[in-house]
Symmetry: C2
Subunit: 223 residues, 2 copies
């Protein structure tokens, strides 16, 4: 029986950072890099890097380093960046607009199909050539268009209802900015960006620091 | 010799979530809750909860549950929410404006003192009674005002320069939205919100899911 390959959530969380650093190396025309050099840039230990990258095949040669282009390509495949994602944003407030305007998303294959809002003042507005549509039309739109990804930028009291409409109509990935834990079917993936939790983590660490009681802690990006 | 109390980064990362759920319980006039009931709501195991909360004193009694109000208060102290934080935002684009408008931040003690931007069209604008000031005046402002926290919402190519100005002038906490790893003095705390890394984690997990190759993974919020 073939042993199933297991990539832990901790590794998955580190992959985007590898991808970002490798892209920068490619821009600087670096072909090869050792785990030691990569370690100095990225802040993970060299042994952690070797262990992580071993998950994806044989891109390194002892004493010779990693093939940057191949590794970048392979990590891009694992990150799902070889396909397009039809995307809708729900909530056209500052945050929704910030995301709609973020050119990086377009560059890696996100096709923004529509932005929804219940505010009549925003309906009809164009953000990067994409129109803001009335939220009442969300379900009809989802039935007519194959949408992969929904980005929820509405206040938390509306988030679960919006989420249900999305997942009932075939959306398989939710990027959620509302500070609640969404209830979704098993086969739907949710990634939360909880700004208040991030801010409280910061104040907690500042407080800890200010009290002169600094505790030894791991590099947060490694947790 | 007294043994120094050690709270791991993993526990610190879970505290804001406890704080949020406990606040909701207080709103619903719930006085006591068992680790089992809390577990069902919050999604951590009961034993994890008991272990986490044991770090902060004795708020639970076997068979009787936790005192919600006391626990909420104590976690608030550990999160540093008993003091005010003088704050500046650098970058008054959509993201900076979204953060300036987020009423939750004010409610937990963040005092927004100024917003900076280099765009003359934004300078002079008022967001929630706070004026957008020219970025050229940032250093002078920091020398005249005691600022605890800087929120960086500028494009990545300007982020390190802004960060240095902040930390050279006494800012001890940085909430960074630019997709780079900032170089800061040892006593400065940085909390990154890296939207592109969050999005790539989502696509990676969606991709994994779509390939019918779903791997067993831990609850991401527990990592």
């Amino acid at each position: 029986m073939e042993k199933k390959k297991y990539i832990s959530m901790a590794v998955i969380k580190r992959l985007p950072k590898y991808h970002r650093y490798l892209r920068e190396l490619l821009r600087k025309d670096v072909d090869r890099i050792s785990s030691k050099e990569l370690s100095e840039r990225i802040g993970f230990t060299a042994s952690q890097i070797r262990q992580d990258l071993n998950n994806f095949g044989d891109f390194g040669q002892q004493g010779y380093g990693y093939n940057v282009r191949e590794l970048y390509k392979q990590i891009g495949i694992i990150l799902g960046l070889t396909k397009d994602y039809n995307t809708v944003i729900i909530g056209a407030g500052n945050l929704g607009q910030a995301i709609a305007n973020y050119s990086y998303f377009k560059s890696i294959g996100f096709k923004l199909k529509a932005i929804f809002d219940r505010n009549p003042k925003l309906v009809g507005l164009k953000i990067r050539d994409v129109e803001v549509v009335d939220s009442d039309d969300l379900e009809a739109f989802l039935k007519e268009n194959e949408i992969d990804l929904g980005i929820i930028c509405v206040p938390k009291e509306y988030a679960q209802d919006i989420c249900k409409k999305l997942t009932d109509n075939g959306v398989s990935g939710i990027w959620n900015f509302a500070p609640i834990d969404l209830d979704v079917p098993k086969d739907v993936i949710v990634e939360n960006v909880n700004l208040s939790e991030s801010l409280l983590t910061l104040t907690c660490r500042m407080n800890d620091n200010l009290m002169g009681n600094r505790r030894k802690m791991k590099n947060p990006s490694q947790i």
